[in-house]
């Protein structure tokens, strides 16, 4: 028992490091651990992976503070993270991430009882309609902008981002594991740094209880898409949640992203345990190591997940105050410059001139969205448009 706890804690530490270090992903660490056979006990390795994935799901939202992102979901966190630094309530933002993550797990757990029965129903029912659902969401997303001029601008941004996605997806231009680094850094990171002063809308904080409940339910329902439908990305689920719930407050955006991130991991383990279907890289690795899970193993994984979530929450909350104090003292201009240089460095190292070209184009589209004063979620056209075309 103590041995398991040690490996969960070790996993949490590794996940925390992977989340905080730009460019590092928990799946890279898992690959290293599996390839080199560093841990011989299968169960120890599994609980370590769970600990790592859970901690990563929490801590990945801290790297956008330095304009650095590890995946598409973290890209959506750049703007709210930067806003929290600007307004000096990083600690509050971290508390939202932690609360969201724990709610995501809590809402997902009851599905353990029904996953086996509801999975085929949801899968068969929604799968043929995903393309249409995404299209309706995108039209709704544009329509939400208000007047026809704004709608036109928003559609232009969506289409430009979509063309970018269509051009590079499955093109062989860059290795797939590095493809989205320059794209998302450009669309959300660099553009935000360059044109941050032109962001005109200020968003007020709102903490009413009923809003949190409504937002939690919407985010959780959206996360079901990623867990049950193949090829649906977490960022797409996030866009669905943000648009259908008309969620525009930065505080709530981080809350939503965190719910989706942790619900995704929990649901993928539940679906793996109850139906044997793989819905995430973590679930895939678990099945590779253990094969088909029996009930006891599924419960052990869920237990490890809960322990890892509690430890990660405490770690994140412990970090909240010191991080908030440090960031309040740091010159924001220098922080932005550091973020920009770090992003550029990562792009050059991992993707070379091709990545720079992609980052340049993405940054221009990102800046355009800021100048036209439309919401940054339209930039997700880069993933949504190719998905819609492929699914219709």
């Amino acid at each position: 028992m103590i041995e398991l706890l040690v490996f969960i804690l070790l996993g949490v530490c590794l996940g925390c490091i992977a989340g905080l270090i730009p460019g590092l992903h928990s799946s890279n660490l898992t690959l290293v651990l599996m390839s080199y056979g560093l841990i011989t006990s299968q169960i120890n390795l599994i609980v370590l992976i769970i600990g790592m994935e859970v901690a990563y799901a929490f801590f990945q939202f801290l790297s956008p503070i330095l304009f650095s992102i590890s995946d598409d979901l973290a890209a959506l966190a750049i703007e709210p993270s930067q806003y929290s630094i600007k307004k000096e309530f990083v600690d509050k933002a971290i508390k939202n991430i932690v609360t969201g993550g724990l709610i995501g797990i809590l809402l997902s757990l009851p599905l353990l009882l029904f996953a086996q029965k509801i999975y085929p129903v949801i899968y068969e029912g929604i799968r043929p309609l995903v393309g249409q659902i995404l299209m309706i969401i995108c039209i709704y997303m544009v329509w939400l902008e208000g007047d026809w001029k704004k709608c036109l601008f928003a559609s232009s941004i969506f289409v430009l981002s979509g063309i970018l996605g269509l051009l590079v997806r499955d093109s062989g231009f860059l290795p797939s594991n590095y493809l989205f680094l320059p794209i998302f850094l450009g669309l959300y990171g660099f553009s935000s740094i360059i044109a941050s002063r032109r962001r005109t809308y200020e968003i007020k904080y709102e903490t009413q209880r009923e809003n949190k409940i409504r937002v939690s339910v919407i985010a959780f329902l959206s996360s079901l898409f990623t867990s049950f439908i193949p090829s649906m990305k977490r960022s797409q689920a996030a866009v669905i949640a943000l648009q259908t719930g008309k969620i525009r407050q930065n505080e709530q955006i981080l809350f939503v992203l965190s719910i989706i991130s942790l619900a995704y991991i929990t649901l993928s383990i539940l679906v793996l345990g109850s139906t044997g279907v793989v819905r995430s890289i973590a679930a895939y690795n678990i099945r590779e190591i253990l094969g088909d899970l029996y009930v006891g193993q599924t419960l052990l994984l869920i237990g490890s997940l809960i322990v890892a979530a509690c430890v990660s929450s405490v770690l994140a909350l412990l970090l909240a105050n010191p991080l908030s104090k440090i960031l309040s003292k740091v010159n924001k201009k220098y922080l932005r410059m550091f973020g920009f240089c770090l992003g550029l460095f990562l792009i050059i190292i991992f993707t070379g001139w091709k990545g720079l070209l992609l980052a340049f184009t993405s940054t221009c589209i990102g800046i355009l969205s800021i100048l036209l004063k439309v919401r940054s979620t339209h930039l997700m056209g880069v993933l949504l448009l190719p998905s819609i075309i492929a699914m219709l």
């Binding site: 093109s171 231009f173 070209l357 800046i367």
Partner: protein
């Protein structure tokens, strides 16, 4: 206001130039001609060309075809997904094929994934 409009036009122009340059750069990428045994995991995402014969194939209920293409050094799966599967539904075992495609990893196995009909030349 004029300055703002000029800035928007400039950035829009740069975005379009960026997209066009990307299109050109992508269309100018030549596939690397490669033997199947040389296809390794770090090459995932690269565009390659393999030449071999269809050793066997499987058809799924949804119309996808999974070719097992081999040359004198080894074999690899070439999935023909969606419309590609329908276009090449009349393939036969033993035919020679030239495949251009992206190296992808699916369930821990490497595959060569053609992008369009032009990437698959049979006979």
């Amino acid at each position: 206001m004029v300055k703002e409009k000029f800035l928007i036009s400039l950035i829009l122009g740069l975005s379009i130039i960026g997209l066009l340059t990307l299109y050109l750069a992508i269309s100018l990428i030549n596939p690397i001609e490669i033997k199947i045994k040389d296809i390794k995991e770090p090459m995932t995402g690269n565009l390659v060309k393999i030449t071999g014969k269809i050793e066997s194939f499987k058809k799924s209920n949804t119309g996808n075809i999974y070719l097992n293409v081999s040359d004198d050094t080894g074999g690899i799966t070439v999935p023909l997904i969606g419309n590609l599967g329908k276009t090449f539904s009349d393939i036969t075992k033993g035919e020679r094929v030239d495949i251009v495609g992206i190296i992808t990893e699916y369930k821990d196995t490497l595959e060569v994934l053609p992008r369009s009909e032009k990437d698959v030349v049979i006979g």
